[in-house]
């Protein structure tokens, strides 16, 4: 008979680490998808996922079972991703003159006929990844959660541990930062 999540967690807390395996199998796809939002290299993604699970094991005592395990785990995953972003702040003062040919072509077509370009194009995906990589860690986190994953401010506050007003302030600043970057692209490319 298959054991419930609560039974598995209770078994892990009693010292049966093997009971953690079904939880890892069940929720790893979500953890990996979250990690891939913030890390580009696959080795980094795996490091983040591994850290999330090790932290989950160590902090399992703090899981009170009031909310689903998945919510608790995703909070941990988002916070670990944010720590990763803060720890890997690269030099964001790079220029956009190094756009690939496909990205450049996509932009050219966008300038000529904005409605004709597809957001499903690989070039658009690469370009947004490039722009997100240039954002500061809080801006990137907020844009990802609010704009891309379409979460509410309240949800983001719960996920990140920030207060609702702080999320709103950071969202305002993140949008401004994003606009500034896109303006920079426009200037570098067409001025």
């Amino acid at each position: 008979m298959e054991r419930t999540e609560a039974e598995l967690i209770a078994a892990v807390l009693r010292g049966d680490a093997a009971s953690f395996e079904p939880l890892i199998q069940k929720y790893s796809p979500r953890v990996f998808a979250t990690a891939r939002r913030y890390a580009r290299r696959e080795s980094e993604v795996e490091d983040i996922a591994q850290e999330v699970w090790l932290k989950a094991f160590q902090k399992l005592k703090s899981f009170r079972g009031e909310a689903p395990f998945e919510h608790w785990l995703m909070r941990l995953a988002v916070r670990t991703c944010y720590d990763f972003l803060r720890g890997h702040q690269r030099n964001r003062e790079t220029t956009f003159s190094e756009l690939t040919d496909t990205e450049g072509d996509w932009l050219e077509r966008f300038v000529k006929q904005p409605d004709s370009v597809s957001e499903h194009a690989d070039a658009a995906r690469q370009l947004i990844e490039r722009v997100l990589a240039q954002l500061s860690p809080p801006a990137r986190l907020v844009i990802t959660l609010l704009e891309i994953e379409d979460r509410s401010v309240k949800e983001i506050a719960k996920l990140t541990g920030w207060s609702v007003p702080l999320v709103k302030v950071r969202a305002f600043r993140a949008r401004a930062e994003m606009r500034k970057l896109l303006t920079k692209i426009a200037k570098e490319k067409y001025l």
């Binding site: 807390l13 010292g15 680490a17 093997a18 953690f20 395996e21 890892i24 199998q25 790893s28 796809p29 979500r30 990996f32 998808a33 891939r36 939002r37 795996e46 996922a49 591994q50 699970w53 090790l54 094991f57 160590q58 005592k61 966008f110 300038v111 904005p114 370009v117 957001e119 499903h120 194009a121 658009a124 995906r125 370009l127 947004i128 722009v131 997100l132 844009i143 704009e147 891309i148 379409d150 994003m178 606009r179 896109l182 303006t183 692209i185 426009a186 490319k189 067409y190």
Partner: protein, 104 residues
């Protein structure tokens, strides 16, 4: 270039291309292997380990001071009654001469 429209298009591109949720082969086995090497953290165990680690340097320092106090030359120390010397040291401030009172 319409920056607001570009922003809208790029966000739509990110939404249209969600990241893969692929998990590397035997990932859960690797995590369990890592966990096997570390037990659930126990506060008392952490304290005990820290105290055991601190014990060796403390013993070493104690031995050093013992050897030093045993071997240190005591030529400058005047021989005498230890209790008397202790009392003198303790009351040194009181024994100091009081400044002369001003003449009235």
């Amino acid at each position: 270039m319409n920056v607001a429209e570009l922003n809208h298009k790029l966000i739509a591109a990110a939404r249209a291309n969600p990241p893969s949720d692929r998990v590397p082969y035997a990932f859960e086995k690797r995590i369990l292997a890592r966990l096997a090497g570390q037990r659930m953290p126990d506060d008392w165990a952490l304290w005990a380990r820290a105290l055991w680690r601190a014990a060796a340097p403390c013993v070493a320092i104690m031995m050093l001071f013992s050897v030093w106090s045993y071997l240190a030359p005591n030529g400058n120390v005047p021989a005498g009654d230890l209790s008397q010397e202790f009392e003198n040291t303790l009351l040194a401030a009181v024994d100091q001469e009081q400044p002369a009172e001003p003449a009235r």
